[in-house]
C-alpha cells in the first residue's frame, strides 16, 4: 500500500543522484563528499580537509553513539527506561554537525540529539534520566553549552534564536545551532524563529534533520517544497546536505556556523537522512511504513560508508576498528550499569526547584506532604 496518499506507487526516498535514488524535478542535488560506496567526491562550494586522526575520530564517534543508542533501546525493552527515542541512521547528521561546533557555541537540541550531546561532552548516562523517569532534564546546560532536551515540538528554535540575539548584543563571535525535525518545520514557533532570526540577523544555524517521518507522517504531509528552500522566503540561505555523509555534514555545518559567526545572519541546513528505527519505542512503524524503504536506506548507512572509505584509503587498520569495538562494548556496559544504579527520586523532590525565590504555597504543601508521609511511618501496620 502506498504511504503517500496521492501516489499509487510506493514512496521512494528522495536523495541525491549519487545515492542512486530519484530526485524531485527541479530539486538541486544535495551536498555530498562521500558516496554511499565510500568514494570521496568534491563539491564546488563545500570542501573539507581532515587529518587521518580526525577521520578516525568521526568514525569512533558514530560507532559509540550508535552503541549507546542500541543499549538504551534494549534498556527500554528490559523495563529500565520508560521510553527511548532512537537516533539510528542519523549518526552522521549528528556527529558531523556536533563536531562542527566550537565549545563557545550553544546547542539547542530536540529529544533525539544523543550524538550531538556526545560531541558536546555530555555524559550519555545523563541523557537517560528523563527517559527513565527520574528527572526532566538531568544536566546543567551551561556546563557544555548544551541545552536541555525539548519535547514540545519546535519550541527550542525560538529559544535558540533569542540566545543568538543575546550573543549579537554582547558583541561575541560565537553561534547557536538549533536542531529540529522535518515535522517540526510545520510549527508556528519554527516559522516565528525564522522570522526573528532573519529580522535581527541572529547568529543561529537552524539544523533540520529530515529523517523523512514525523511519527507516521511523511515529509510530504508537512511541506510541498524541500525544507531547505523555505529559508529563502524568510530571507536567509538554506542548503541541503546528505545527512548520511558525515564529511559533508561537517563541512556544511562548519560553513553555516562561520556564516553566522561572521555577522551574516542565520542559515538553514537540511540534513537529508532517515530514521531507521521506530519514532520511539512506543511506535509501530509497520502500520505506516514499507520495509523496502528502510532497506533502501540501509545501503546508505553512514557508518559503513565512512568505514569503507577509511579501509579503502588505508586511513584505519583492523586494530583501530577492533579498538573502537572494544570501546563500544565498554560504553554499553558502563551505561547499563549506571542506569540500573540510578535511584528513584525522593518524593520530596517534587517540591524542589519550583521557584528560585521560594513560594509560600509550595512551603505549605511541602510541609503537609511531609507530615502525611510521616503518618504512614508511625502507623503500626505500616504501608
Amino acid at each position: 500500500m502506498s504511504v503517500k496518499s496521492t501516489a499509487a506507487k510506493p514512496r521512494t526516498p528522495r536523495t541525491g543522484t549519487r545515492g542512486g535514488a530519484k530526485r524531485r524535478e527541479g530539486e538541486p542535488e544535495l551536498v555530498q563528499l562521500l558516496t554511499p560506496e565510500g568514494e570521496r567526491v568534491q563539491h564546488s562550494e563545500y570542501s573539507i580537509d581532515l587529518s587521518p586522526e580526525e577521520l578516525r575520530g568521526l568514525y569512533r564517534d558514530m560507532v559509540l553513539t550508535r552503541r549507546f543508542d542500541a543499549e538504551a533501546t534494549s534498556l527500554q525493552r528490559q523495563g529500565e527506561l520508560g521510553l527511548w527515542a532512537s537516533l539510528l541512521g542519523q549518526e552522521a547528521a549528528q556527529i558531523g554537525s556536533g563536531r562542527a561546533t566550537r565549545p563557545d557555541d550553544y546547542v539547542f537540541p530536540t529529544y533525539r540529539e544523543h550524538g550531538v550531546a556526545w560531541c558536546r561532552g555530555v555524559d550519555p548516562v545523563n541523557l537517560l534520566g528523563m527517559f527513565r523517569g527520574v528527572n526532566h532534564g538531568g544536566w546543567d546546560p551551561n556546563e557544555n553549552n548544551f541545552h536541555l532536551y525539548t519535547i514540545v515540538i519546535g519550541s527550542q528554535t525560538l529559544h535558540a534564536t533569542g540566545y543568538a540575539m543575546g550573543i549579537s548584543k554582547d558583541g561575541a563571535d560565537s553561534a547557536v545551532i538549533a536542531y529540529f525535525g522535518d515535522g517540526a518545520s510545520s510549527q508556528g514557533d519554527v516559522a516565528e524563529a525564522f522570522t526573528f532570526a532573519a529580522v535581527y540577523n541572529a547568529p543561529v544555524v537552524f539544523f533540520c534533520q529530515n529523517n523523512q517521518w514525523a511519527i507516521s507522517e511523511p515529509t510530504e504531509k508537512q511541506s510541498r517544497v524541500p525544507i531547505y528552500q523555505r529559508a529563502a522566503g524568510f530571507g536567509f540561505p538554506g542548503v541541503r546536505v546528505d545527512g548520511n555523509d558525515v564529511l559533508a555534514v561537517l563541512a556544511v555545518t562548519r560553513a553555516a556556523l562561520e556564516h553566522a559567526r561572521s555577522g551574516q545572519g542565520p542559515m538553514l541546513v537540511e540534513a537529508f537522512t532517515y530514521r531507521m528505527g521506530a519514532h520511539t519505542t512506543s511506535d509501530d512503524p509497520t502500520r505506516y511504513r514499507l520495509d523496502e524503504e528502510r532497506e533502501q536506506w540501509e545501503h546508505k548507512d553512514p557508518i559503513l560508508r565512512l568505514r569503507s572509505y577509511l579501509e579503502k584509503d588505508g586511513i584505519a587498520d583492523e586494530a583501530f576498528f577492533a579498538g573502537v569495538e572494544e570501546e563500544s562494548e565498554a560504553l554499553g556496559k558502563r551505561v547499563r550499569e549506571a542506569v540500573r544504579a540510578m535511584p528513584d527520586p525522593d518524593p520530596m523532590s517534587i517540591f524542589e526547584n519550583i521557584y528560585a525565590d521560594g513560594h509560600a504555597l509550595v512551603d505549605e504543601e511541602r510541609a503537609q506532604f511531609a507530615a502525611y508521609q510521616a503518618s504512614f511511618a508511625d502507623s503500626p501496620e505500616g504501608h
Binding site: G82, L83, M130, V134, S216, D344, S349, L361
Partner: protein
C-alpha cells in the same frame, strides 16, 4: 449491551458520527494510517478516507485554527490533540478565537468543534504527556468542557459533543483507555451536562471526574469496610458543571471532598468548594476539602504515584472531613 474499553467506545463513537453526519471530519497528527498514538481513530482512515479522516501537519495552532474555518463553512471538525501538553500551541486559537466567535457574531455563526485531548497522568510518560489542563478551559466562557470516566459515557458523550453546536473540550482520561465496561449502544443517553451518582452513600460525598472517578470508587469501597458510607458523584461535565447534583448530594451527606489530578490551586475543586459553600453553608458539617496535585510541575514518572491522588490520600481527606 457490548463490553468494550474506553478506547474502543471512543472509536465506535467516532465511527457512528462519521456514518451519520457527512459533515463530521476528524483532524489530527497521526490519526490516519497509524490510527493515532492511542489508536482511537484505528480503522477510520481506511473506511472513511482521507477527506474525512485528515492527517494534519505537525502544527496544533494550525489544526485548531483551520478547524474553526471548516466549522464556519458548515463542517463539524473533531480534532485530536496528541497529548495534553501539546494543546498549548493551539491555546491561543481555542481561547481567543474559538470560544468567542459565536458571541461576537451575535449568535449568527456556530462553532461545532470538538477538541479531544488525552489527559492526565499515571502511564509513566515523559514530560508534557501527563498534564491536566481542564481549569484553563473551564475558566473560558464559550467553551464546554467534559470528561467521561466509563466506556458507556465515552461512547455517548463523544457523540453528544460532536452533535453540540458549541465548541467542546473533550478530555479523555488516558490511563483509563484500556478499562472495560458495558456499553448500551441503543438506549437513550443521559444529558451531556448532567452529573451521575456513581455510588450511593450517606456519610460524605466524593466529587470527581475522568481518571479520578475510579480512585474514588475504590476509596468508597475501602471506606465501606470500615463502616463508612461514601457517595461518589461523577461530574462528567466541568463546564457547565452540575452544581445542583453536587448540592443535592451534599445536602444528604453534609460533607464534600473534591478529587482531581490537576493542581489544587485554582483548580476545579476551588470553584466547587466555593459554590457549594455558598449553596450549602448551613448543611455542611465540615469545610469542603480538596485532594489534587501540588503546586509543582507534574513530576518525573518514577514519583508520579506520590503526586497523583491515590486511595490513601482520598481516605486521608475523608478522615479529616469526618473529624470536624
Amino acid at each position: 449491551m457490548a463490553t468494550m474499553t474506553i478506547a474502543k467506545a471512543l472509536n465506535e463513537a467516532l465511527r457512528k458520527s462519521l456514518e451519520t453526519d457527512p459533515k463530521v471530519v476528524l483532524m489530527g497528527e497521526d490519526i490516519g494510517k497509524l490510527g493515532g498514538v492511542f489508536r482511537i481513530t484505528d480503522g477510520l482512515h481506511k473506511d472513511f478516507g482521507e477527506q474525512r479522516v485528515i492527517d494534519t501537519p505537525l502544527a496544533e495552532s494550525g489544526i485548531v485554527g483551520t478547524a474553526i474555518g471548516l466549522a464556519l463553512r458548515g463542517y463539524r471538525p473533531v480534532v485530536e490533540i496528541q497529548f495534553d501538553g501539546f494543546v498549548f500551541p493551539a491555546y491561543d486559537q481555542i481561547v481567543t478565537q474559538l470560544a468567542k466567535m459565536h458571541a461576537r457574531a451575535l449568535g449568527k455563526i456556530k462553532l461545532p468543534v470538538v477538541i479531544r485531548i488525552p489527559y492526565g497522568g499515571g502511564i509513566g510518560a515523559v514530560e508534557h504527556h501527563s498534564e491536566s489542563p481542564e481549569a484553563y478551559f473551564a475558566h473560558t466562557a464559550g467553551l464546554k468542557v467534559v470528561s467521561p470516566s466509563t466506556p458507556q459515557d465515552a461512547y455517548w458523550m463523544l457523540q453528544q459533543a460532536i452533535d453540540s453546536d458549541d465548541p467542546v473540550i473533550f478530555l479523555e482520561p488516558k490511563r483509563r483507555y484500556w478499562d472495560k465496561g458495558e456499553v448500551d449502544t441503543d438506549g437513550i443517553p443521559a444529558p451531556l451536562h448532567k452529573a451521575r451518582t456513581a455510588r450511593e452513600g450517606t456519610d460524605l460525598t466524593l466529587a470527581a471526574y475522568g481518571p479520578m472517578v475510579k480512585v474514588c470508587l475504590e476509596a468508597a469501597a475501602a471506606a465501606a469496610e470500615e463502616g463508612r458510607s461514601l457517595e461518589v458523584v461523577d461530574l462528567r461535565s466541568l463546564s457547565p458543571l452540575d452544581f445542583d447534583a453536587v448540592q443535592a448530594s451534599v445536602e444528604k451527606t453534609r460533607r464534600l471532598v473534591v478529587v482531581h489530578e490537576a493542581p489544587v490551586q485554582l483548580g476545579m475543586g476551588a470553584e466547587i468548594a466555593a459554590r457549594i459553600t455558598e449553596r450549602c453553608f448551613y448543611h455542611l458539617e465540615a469545610p469542603v476539602l480538596r485532594v489534587g496535585g501540588f503546586h509543582a510541575p507534574y513530576p518525573p514518572a518514577r514519583v508520579e504515584e506520590e503526586y497523583l491522588p491515590g486511595l490513601d490520600r482520598v481516605l486521608d481527606a475523608v478522615d479529616r472531613s469526618l473529624a470536624f
